[in-house]
Symmetry: D2
Subunit: 351 residues, 4 copies
């Protein structure tokens, strides 16, 4: 049994951490922190947790917290952790950061896309990018995890096998992504009001949403040539879920033929054969966010358009679970030697 603390417990990702950890056999939620709600009872803000997580919310103090717990989750705005992280903290407790602070290895790229100065670049090298299916071995011994973004996780799991298999041209990838509104956060903004979001859809952050370099860095890592892609996120009137529809030109094989749907589908099946939380759908079945809601699963499938010789890759994920809090817990499980699926085995909730 370990003790956990969460900084940023009153955002949507923080709340999902509390929900998941409350069902985890090896974890005691010791401390919940919140800048905006310190002093209030957690379950007065998130009524679902009445009788389950009735903690009084504490002010953020990562040094103090690191002495009380074994693992700290930071579900905080960009720049927070970089501003407070110390060697002392990392000696005391393992840290899993749900922000982008330590995801990008090139600090200049980070500073350009996020528009803020990085306050502790000395930890970037050490940080392990916590995409479990990719970096399991490194995660095991890490002190600091950069928990991946929701879009990058879904994009990586959807597109990477096609690159690994050499089926597609790395320069032609387009990722058209659709996200539920939890992805926009819990801040009180007019644009996220029910009447502004409901019954509508729109693109945002074009042409250069800041998850772009993270996706490119991860995909480039498994591609023979660097990946430069278009990434277009859309806001959908639903609460949870990300759907990625990605396109790329097929590469002709040495015999001049294009790889077939069967070939690529088998390759995906093999790649994910041992992964507990990635489901490659049967041919002809396509991912839907409703089938993964509330769970750690990512559903993946592909289609080949023989008229255009393009590959269509699709992936669906719950942006709150595998896309944020769930993957953070999966990382924790790996780091502490728990069963990787402990606390994450719940079936998707439908409807």
């Amino acid at each position: 049994m370990i003790n956990a603390g969460i900084i940023g417990a009153t955002g949507y990702a923080g709340a999902e951490l509390v929900r998941i950890l409350s069902n985890h056999k090896e974890v005691c939620i010791k401390t919940l922190c919140s800048k905006s709600y310190a002093g209030q009872k957690y379950s007065d803000i998130f009524g679902n947790m009445r009788g389950i997580a009735d903690h009084i919310l504490q002010k953020d103090d990562i040094e103090k917290l690191s002495k009380e717990v074994d693992v700290i989750f930071t579900a905080t705005p960009q720049g927070y952790l970089a501003g407070v992280l110390t060697e002392e903290v990392l000696k005391n407790a393992k840290v899993i950061d749900l922000s982008a602070d330590f995801r990008i290895k090139d600090v200049a790229v980070y500073e350009k896309w996020y528009g803020i100065e990085h306050k502790s670049p000395q930890f970037i090298e050490e940080a392990v990018y916590g995409l479990c299916e990719k970096n399991r071995a490194d995660i095991k011994s890490a002190r600091l995890i950069a928990n991946p973004g929701c879009y990058p996780t879904c994009s990586y799991l959807t597109v990477s096998p096609a690159l690994m298999g050499g089926f597609i041209d790395a320069n032609t990838v387009i990722v058209d992504a659709k996200s539920g509104t939890t992805g926009a956060g819990r801040g009180a903004k007019t644009t996220n009001l029910f009447c502004e979001v409901n019954d509508s859809i729109r693109a945002y952050g074009l042409p250069g949403h800041r998850h772009t370099p993270e996706i490119e860095e991860q995909l480039s890592g498994v591609s023979k040539s660097p990946v430069r892609l278009n990434f277009s996120p859309h806001l959908v009137p639903m609460m949870r879920g990300i759907l990625v529809t990605a396109y790329a030109d097929l590469k002709a094989k040495s015999d001049g033929c294009f790889p077939s749907a069967d070939e690529i589908h088998s390759y995906y099946k093999d790649k994910y054969a041992d992964e507990r939380f990635v489901r490659v759908l049967d041919k002809g079945a396509y991912p839907e966010t409703r089938w993964v809601k509330g769970s750690e699963y990512t559903d993946v499938s592909i289609a080949v358009d023989e008229r255009t010789n393009r590959l269509i890759m699709m992936g669906a994920m719950d942006n709150m679970t595998k896309g944020a809090a769930g993957q953070a817990v999966q990382n924790m499980n790996i780091m502490f030697g728990f069963d990787e699926d402990e606390g994450l085995g719940m079936a998707p909730v439908f409807p």
Copy 2:
């Protein structure tokens, strides 16, 4: 470890049973039956259960099923179980029926409100009405459980303490209920299409919805005088959840004064002090269906209108969980001596 079978596994309540039982430590889902989808793979219909419940759906055959399993859940239309139930079946397996067939003790009342002949009235007396908080002792030794309706469960838990405490006039109760659309079932009806339900609200089944006699029978059982009430259900553009707003005239006490909100609130607190799945909210807090979604909780609270001397009683519940499949599992847990909350401890999913 016991074996379970479900007849009617492809309706919403059946699917919720599969979801809950798939996380239950003491149960193996042995057989899933479906009239409409027999021969198909369960997870091809409910994609959320891919890799979790890949059973091939069987035809309904309750006799055969009763020999293979320890407990049978029937999530079937009214009249089905009454038409096939035999002493033989009940000797082989315990039966938990999610339909209304055995909920009403007076067969004439059943036949009038449901408009069908009851085919096996000989089992009505034996059947235990499975409202766990009310009939726990009888449930323990039952062979046949009449699992309560969603509206009756929520209405009972919301209104019954006020009657037990003698705070209200039993003749003045009005239950205005609001339900999510899973309550309308999974049949392909135009009226339940997305574009017909979304962004609208309407009453239905007025003035005599057939849950009325069930609610009256249960409330009368705890009231000094028989309860005759108005029950008005509404269809709300949400998926899960029932909210009950009930009204009744306060009864003056012997000193001529009306009972205060504090008094009634304390009484509710006491009544439910030992109940794992009923949460009486703090004074001034009112139930919201989002706080109970996907869970077994019922949230209850009251308000007193001193201008009109009326009591307003409110309750929120997930109609799929405590309102159907969850309560069925709670009944099973009691019947088989498992922890009453086994498989039901999941925190509500928000958002």
Copy 3:
């Protein structure tokens, strides 16, 4: 052709005024004012109005505005108009106020329920309560209209005939109302975010929502005895629409019998026979908010529960149109001698 100005043009009611007036043959929208967005282009905030209402938003200045236009609409928070209204303004232009400032004749009642001091009680007597179907004659010659609240309008149109006809006991009325989320306004509040409202329902403002005295005052005006009622509003995950479900005990007639559904239904039919914007549904049909969306209609119907001798009265309305901006325009039409339905004839938008 008259000129109109709107103060508070960037709230939902203000925006609906702009939408309706942009289709009105006799009105030119001269000036749009907004405290929060002054200086910006209207259609940059409400993209639907691109090319239709590209006004630059002005600061609020009612005196100045009154010299430029024939009619002023104030779609502003409680207290605004009472704070700035002068005889000079009323001499220059007619004023239609969508706030509650001049709806309640007893200033003490206003101050108690709204918790603010009334700054210009001298105009209360003059103000005409703009419920068109009730006060058409007085509206015609008014300078100052108190445009009714959404709940009061729907409650009045739904319940008043039953009181006028003497069918119900005035002391037993309960109004259970359900509203879309535009009713909560366009302010940036966490509680109104998409992910907080969607897939949930809750009561609010209990036990004494401040529309209560307004409803009581209007219904008492048509009742033989004063009406004191319960009013319970609920927030529904939809954008537009109010549904009122009201209950009352039937009064026995002199022969000891209770009035029949047919009798009451006919009375409603007669009462509204000449009303362009009230539709009494056929017996057995119940109002649904989807059938009135975007239009000026109120749909009304009744049911009798013969088991309890209670009358159920139902009404559906678009809270933005007849419940706010539409009725304001209807009032304007009456005041200026235009056809009462000018600009309001659009059919409801479904779906």
Copy 4:
């Protein structure tokens, strides 16, 4: 004043025709036909039209209908009109067909993609493809209009200027489209139930949705080289609206530079300068379906990704209005010499 008849009046497109025509000054809705609901009152099915369109629904009989009206709208399944159209009908009345029967000039392509035999290919040549902004002159004198599909209309208006201007490579176009659920029709299918559609998103019809050849044919008509593209539609939990996000590689100019966003934006502005119902948004503003709901507008904008040298083209439209019934009325207006915007001037309804 002309008389109009609608065959297929009880589908969503048919109902939108009734809504729009009921506000049209030059049209009397003479006859409404429905295969499924013949004999019933129209407003008993579509309650929004109570008191507005109370017609008794007739059986389909296009010959008879053609003698009673000046224009016939067929909002019917594929194959219906091709099966019943005769020279006699076209001599009696103008016909505007909302199905795909006469949209594709090559009958073999039609038969392949739609999987049905074309029963009256002799009328294909004469039929004018009713995309008003493209074929206005031909529409004027047409007897038979093939009213465009919703996706093709939105795709064409979004992508065609980029092709006309020679800015993009015709072989690289990808159209990722998102549609509201009215697009799935009003048939009683499980997959379109509220609880199946809500809070989820999915692609469908991949890799070859049957609107593909229609889009290609229209875009090829304005491109220097034939367009072969990917078209991927998605189902979004909203009622009305289509959003197209299209991608294509920029073509370097003769000086080796790529065209700039400013250049392309200006070109779009010019192209649509005189179009009443196409709004090119300011640079940096992107279309949202909420801004066009219930109206005839299509909002269009572009972005250039300078990292990948790709053009992103976006368009939003109401699939029921400009995407179906509205464009049908626009075609009728052109054919009969009415103002092109008569009956179509309503501002978009928000929220």
